[in-house]
């Protein structure tokens, strides 16, 4: 998201420059003001969150949310990481961090390996009832999790995976399967049909074509799917809350435990630091893979 919008923002003025129009024009000013406002809309709350996380509670009680911390202290950060309590387990958000990793890894492997094969099969092979199946998938992709929650819990309970990290991973995979299958299917549809036809004539089997031709060509879409899935799963709260149990709560649920208070005193610095720590991993992924993400999207767009 951020990568796309910032790209759009910089490319528009440079296109204007190329046509050698005067530098300051009303329309440009309007665009700048709008962009500044949009940036401030996201940046100001972020600023408050960051600044607050470095303050002491005494400073926060003064109520000057925009003032800089004096003195700066990283106490809240280390407290949030190692000591903040989620229930009686006072080991900080790192417990959730580890759980989130345990959830993320298997669900990425499961979802992507399953949906890439189904997408490939539906796109490039003659599958009976393929259109009907696609239609059902399409519908499934739009079913909100909440309305199938109860049967899913029943099924997970029956399979004895309810309340385990692996169980949460499986539920994530099941829930994102339709959508990802559609994405892969549409991407593979865009591959040059001649290549596949040639491969079939050379008597390539389903799996050989998949591993030797299709898979090496799907780098771009993999990055897109990876980013989508990592952010989606990492930021998920409801699935983790519903299917998690005592030791398996993901980072978002632990964060919720730390920050939400009913009748207890609140420490905002710790809340802010925990929130930032929880938000960090997907952000890092964006910064590392952001460039490929845009490439992946545009590659698909041009081919499609």
């Amino acid at each position: 998201m951020t990568a796309i919008s910032s790209n759009a923002g910089t490319s528009a003025p440079s296109a204007v420059k190329a046509r050698r129009r005067p530098l300051i024009r009303p329309s440009r000013v309007v665009i700048f003001v709008f962009l500044l406002m949009a940036a401030a809309f996201f940046a100001v709350p972020l600023y408050v969150v960051i600044v607050t996380s470095f303050k002491t509670m005494d400073q926060i009680r003064l109520g000057q949310i925009f003032s800089l911390p004096s003195p700066w202290t990283t106490e809240a950060w280390s407290y949030a990481w190692t000591q903040a309590c989620s229930g009686m387990n006072c080991n900080g958000v790192r417990v959730g961090f580890v759980n989130s990793l345990y959830i993320l890894a298997p669900s990425l492997v499961l979802t992507i390996s399953l949906s890439i094969v189904t997408g490939y099969g539906l796109a490039l092979w003659n599958v009976k009832w393929a259109n009907g199946f696609l239609f059902v998938l399409f519908i499934c992709a739009f079913v909100p999790f909440q309305i199938i929650m109860y049967p899913l819990i029943k099924i997970a309970g029956g399979l004895h995976i309810y309340g385990t990290t692996f169980g949460i991973a499986v539920i994530h995979s099941v829930l994102s399967l339709p959508f990802l299958t559609l994405i892969f299917r549409n991407y593979f549809r865009g591959l040059p049909p001649q290549i596949i036809a040639a491969a079939m004539i050379d008597s390539g089997s389903f799996w050989r074509i998949f591993f030797e031709i299709v898979l090496p060509m799907s780098g771009n879409i993999m990055v897109v799917v990876l980013i989508l899935m990592i952010t989606g799963i990492w930021n998920d709260f409801l699935v983790g809350l519903t299917f998690g149990a005592q030791d398996t709560q993901p980072m978002t649920v632990v964060l919720n435990n730390i920050t939400v208070t009913t009748t207890g005193a609140k420490n905002y610095a710790v809340d802010m630091a925990s929130a930032l720590l929880t938000a960090l991993p997907p952000l890092v992924i964006y910064f590392v893979l952001g460039k490929f993400f845009v490439q992946g999207i545009t590659a698909g767009a041009i081919k499609g």
């Binding site: 003064l62 309810y162 309340g163």
Partner: protein, 415 residues
């Protein structure tokens, strides 16, 4: 191709069953919604005492305090429920009883002599359809006044001399003249709703309160002069709040009193935790009183519930837990850490502070206490009251008539 898929599915299922572990037999899952230092310290008291009986506390916390406890029901559905949980919603206990999962406590509490020492409001809170179903952990009073002593001195006001709300309002001009906010109030729906509860109880007494907030409310009470007077009082308080009141959380509101920007806050007595966290001293920096001229206080009870697991060891652990929870010594230590008041009137008061003692003193009078509808009433009904209280408070153009009309309509729909 079919083979591969079948194989993959089988592998996934196999991995699932192998990895699907549950808590070991001697650990008992205790589910609650607390995470704050004061709350953890309190739970620690109970855990340690229970540990001496040989029981292992397996902690599960989900900070998610919705009226209908979805998480608990999810865990029951998934076949991995906690044996002990913290919940005050009577609806949950009715559901459990219907499913044969309820654990009544009446006999147990009678046999250890706890029942007769619970204040009436507590007893009412923990009783569902004639049986004690919950083990009370703490008592909170929803409408107490906590005030900043330094501000009171600076403005020449003595809250302890107030005899009625009129005295309080009369003094507010002095407070305003010196540039302080007289009454700090936050914007959450529950804060306003709790305030209305406290006003109705303190001004109009238990009878009107119980007819309005009771388990089976009385429709005729909605349109009475008493209700209208209470609403006018509610409006009067609203007119003394500052412009920052909407959207403010209760603890930020308490902070106004702590930092000496406001004189007082009328809110649940858990705000004491904020004062203590800010290193304020009871008696020197701040103090507490009941609402002046109070006819009744609203009592909230945090309580534990138990789930029938048909396992003798677990049942023993649950029984020990319930006994310790209401033990006069343990309970006093528990609430001291939590910043609440004990659930029995016969506890050892030597370690309790002045505000705890005030609460216990008030609760000695059986005619001066009512229950928080959150612990006893129909969820639809009190949610509607919350909503209407919020609307009435937030919009000065709304009249008592609007409130009365809306509640009458709601009554017809709900009951």
């Amino acid at each position: 191709m079919m083979k591969w898929k079948a194989l993959g599915l089988a592998a996934a299922l196999l991995a699932g069953t192998v990895l699907g572990g549950t808590a070991s037999a001697d650990e008992v899952v205790v589910y609650h919604t607390w995470s704050k230092p004061s709350e953890i310290a309190a739970l620690g008291v109970l855990r340690d005492a229970w540990g001496k009986d040989g029981h292992q506390w397996k902690d599960l916390s989900i900070a998610h305090d919705s009226g209908a406890n979805v998480s608990l029901m999810n865990m029951i559905t998934g076949g991995n429920p906690p044996a002990i949980f913290m919940n005050s919603d009577p609806g949950i206990y009715r559901d459990l009883t219907k499913q044969g999962l309820g654990v009544p406590l009446t006999k147990l509490f009678d046999s250890i002599g706890a029942t007769k020492n619970f204040p009436p409001a507590v007893l009412k809170n923990i009783t569902v359809d004639g049986e004690i179903m919950k083990a009370p952990a703490t008592v909170h009073i929803d409408g107490m006044i906590y005030y900043n002593k330094h501000v009171a001195e600076a403005t020449g006001v003595d809250p302890k001399s107030w005899k009625s709300l009129d005295d309080l309002f009369a003094d507010f001009d002095k407070v305003k003249a010196k540039g302080y906010i007289p009454i700090a109030q936050g914007g959450d729906q529950f804060q306003k709703a709790y305030l209305l509860q406290a006003v109705i109880a303190s001004e109009e007494g238990p009878d009107i309160y119980n007819r309005f907030y009771g388990e089976k409310p009385d429709k005729s009470v909605i349109d009475t002069p008493e209700m209208r007077t209470a609403l006018k009082r509610f409006r009067q308080i609203q007119q003394h709040t500052d412009p920052g009141s909407p959207n403010r959380q209760w603890n930020d509101t308490t902070n106004l009193v702590i930092t000496g920007k406001a004189l007082l806050q009328i809110h649940g007595d858990w705000m004491k935790g904020e004062f203590l966290a800010a290193n304020q001293k009871l008696g020197t920096d701040f103090d507490c009183i009941n609402i002046p001229g109070t006819k009744a206080v609203v009592v909230t009870v945090d309580a534990w519930g138990f789930l029938n697991t048909n396992n003798a060891d677990t049942a023993k652990a649950q029984e020990d837990f319930a006994k310790l929870d209401v033990d006069p010594k343990i309970n006093a230590a528990f609430v001291l850490k939590k910043g609440a008041s004990p659930v029995r009137t016969d506890v050892d008061t030597s370690n309790l502070d002045a505000c705890n003692k005030l609460v216990l003193e008030t609760l000695k009078d059986p005619n001066k206490q009512v229950s928080n509808p959150f612990n006893t009433a129909d969820a639809d009904w009190y949610r509607t009251i919350w909503e209407q209280a919020d609307k009435y408070w937030s919009d000065p153009n709304r009249t008592e008539d609007d409130f009365v009309k809306a509640m009458q309509d709601a009554y017809d729909q709900i009951f």
